[in-house]
Amino acid sequence: MELVLALAINGLIWGLIIALIALGLSIIFGLLDIINLSHGDFFMVGTVLAWFIVHWTGSFWLAFLLAPLIGLLLGALIMKLVIVPIKGAAALSIVATFGLSIILQETVRATFGPAPKRLLPPVEGTIPLFGIDYGIYRLVAAGIAIVCLAGFFLFLHRTKIGAWMRAVRHDPETAVALGIPVQRIYTITFALGFAIAALGGVVAAPITTVDFRAGVDILPFCFMAVIIGGLGNLQGTAAAAVLLSFMEGVITAFADPVVARIVSLCLMSVVLLLRPQGIFAGAMS
């Protein structure tokens, strides 16, 4: 029973971090109809930026501030160079973002190097958690993820730009008629998606590793969360990421972790067959 509780809590905590990354994927799809295969690499760039900033300044918290800002700028640049020229062509967006993914990975491999590195957590130590020694930083990371998720939804619902983002997503033509700078909102949305993924990278880097292929591994789980939560449904995506990770944690206590992942994939398939709009559509959209 102790193992079940420990792994369930770990699943919940990991799910909160994944939710942060998947959220960026969801807002980009929701507003721009772009299936962004390079989103995992935005996360990876965040981990690498964090490593460089910590390496140069010694401050993790500075990385926490700077990496999303750099991500915001990179996102705006990518929007202009890669996404705008193919706007409206969904098939092309898959090819373009796949190419972007390779470019980002190889750029990092050429500059940061191919060997993985470790980023020390800003808070060290463990606490006993249902029979295992659990890293305190994971709890801190979960706290940061909750604050960031809450901050994002506050931004979306309490600021003018947030309202514009929702308006453009709901009805771009009317938004244009009302004088909302739609093109700028597209750019802000894409840049924000990059920034949130980069923030997820900073939060996750001390738990996992810093390496040029970090995004490849994380992307499939993010896609599962987005599909189960409902494409473009932001709250649904966040909830699905936490739910999936929690469920995998519980199953892992009884079975092989591979079985847990198979159950997640089966759940995704069922959702695609029976409720392609996502399990949270209607309730949270």
Partner: protein, 437 residues
């Protein structure tokens, strides 16, 4: 303790104890590779027939690229030395490298291209077990000698062939070399955690066999999918009674494993033992103490002090790495030393085989294969890892291994396990010499 430095005698490769003549032997006996020698060498192969092309399958991109860089660098440096010394039998050596992308399908496809389109007569192959196992059927079908650098034992076992060789270790020799020491010195109750693909399962199978034969207990295996980032669900399943946690990972999974295992305090509760592959291309100092105290089985020890001879020293100089951590002078890369020596040595071994058998073209391959079966290599610049044999029956390299421990962020060698001991313990399980060519 450390590997005893052997008095330098020969650079060349020999069969049945007979030392072969080579340019390098002459050069090192004279004490140096001088510029005059280089000039003589270049004239010699200029007069001979066309170049001999040897293909090199390397992981230049993808998950194994931190290793692939060193495999490629070793192959290029060795080829340069061979060509500066007059090439192979007076013919220029041309090494053509193709990137496997760390992907078995791409690797096998590119091997076909290396042989059929780029004219590779021989191939020194991949260190990625998946690529290597996907490549051997292609090399066999195309009747081309192929050297594996990966460790899955099947390459010179159930999936091997008369054309497949391996100068380095496989999981059979690694388990036979290191597990008995670890069993005696670290503990009798083992749990094994490894990546969920050929290399990991091969290690589990072989180590389990050795530990159980010794009377130890091996708990349920923990196979980790390659795309895992959060290892807590796996590490939480390590039984409390475990005395030795045997791990086999590579690249990012290695760092994730050491980082998260250390965070969970597993290093304090049990001994951690692994093979060099788990920390290839990674300096313990770069992962901030996460690998501190871990025991490793190496075959080409990272510090020069562990095998302190002039050939090792020269290898370190040529590869532009420091003699303690193996870090490149011009970058912060760390050599994948226990594997990357293989393309280097394979080229010298092929040179010896080609020259000794009088190989001129494809029709003479049988002579090369017969030379390789049972070839003995002497500690030299051509074989800086040390003396070794390539067993005739199972085409497997038998070589010295070393038990090391990370102490204070650097490797310290504890014990050398001589190749004779390994050879005596591990009889060949396959005999490829009886297979028709």
């Amino acid at each position: 303790m450390t590997g005893k430095a052997k008095k330098p005698t020969s650079l060349a490769t020999s069969t049945n104890g007979t030392t072969r003549r080579s340019f390098l032997q002459t050069a090192l006996a004279g004490g140096a590779f001088g510029t005059a020698y280089l000039a003589i060498g270049s004239n010699m192969y200029a007069k001979a027939a066309g170049p001999i092309t040897i293909g090199h399958q390397a992981e230049l991109t993808g998950g194994f690229s931190s290793w692939g860089y060193w495999h490629d660098k070793c192959a290029q440096k060795a080829a340069a030395i061979i060509n500066e010394g007059g090439g192979i039998g007076g013919r220029e050596l041309r090494v053509v490298t193709d990137d496997t992308e760390s992907n078995p399908a791409a690797g096998a496809r590119k091997l076909r291209s290396l042989i059929q389109r780029k004219g590779a007569s021989f191939v020194t192959g991949s260190v990625h077990s998946g690529v290597m196992l996907a490549s051997i059927p292609v090399a066999t079908e195309l009747k081309t000698v192929y050297f594996s650098c990966g460790e899955a034992t099947e390459a010179t076992g159930s999936k091997g062939s008369r054309y497949a060789f391996r100068t380095g270790n496989d999981t059979y020799t690694l388990s036979g070399a290191g597990a008995p020491w670890a069993y005696e010195n670290l503990g009798k109750n083992w749990t094994m955690i490894f990546p969920d693909y050929a290399w990991g399962h091969s290690h589990h199978k072989e180590h389990k066999r050795v530990i159980e034969e010794l009377g130890g207990k091996v708990n349920d295996p923990i196979a980790v999918p390659l795309d895992s980032r959060d290892l807590v669900p796996y590490l939480a399943k390590v039984p409390e009674e475990t005395e030795v946690l045997f791990s086999v990972f590579f690249g990012a999974l290695s760092v994730a494993f050491y980082t998260q295992a250390k965070n969970m305090g597993l290093g304090e509760k049990m001994k951690m033992y692994s093979v060099a592959g788990t920390i290839e291309a990674i300096a313990p100092a770069d992962i901030d103490g996460a690998a501190e105290g871990v025991y490793f089985l190496e075959n080409f020890p990272r510090p020069l002090a562990a095998k302190d001879d002039e050939y090792h020293k020269e290898f370190i100089k040529i590869m532009e790495i420091d003699p303690v951590n193996g870090r490149e002078a011009t970058s912060d890369r760390v050599i994948a030393k226990s594997h990357a020596w293989q393309p280097w040595e394979n080229l010298f071994l092929l040179k010896a085989a080609i020259e000794a058998s009088g190989w001129k073209g494809k029709k003479d391959d049988q002579g090369v294969i017969e030379y390789l079966e049972g070839a003995k290599m002497s500690n030299s610049l051509a074989h800086p890892q040390g003396d070794k044999i390539l067993r005739a029956k199972d085409h497997s390299g038998i070589l010295d291994n070393y038990i090391s421990q990370v102490r204070g962020g650097v490797f310290e060698t504890i014990k050398r396990i001589p190749k004779e001991e390994i050879d005596a313990k591990l009889p060949p399980r396959f005999d490829f010499t009886k297979t028709a060519l």
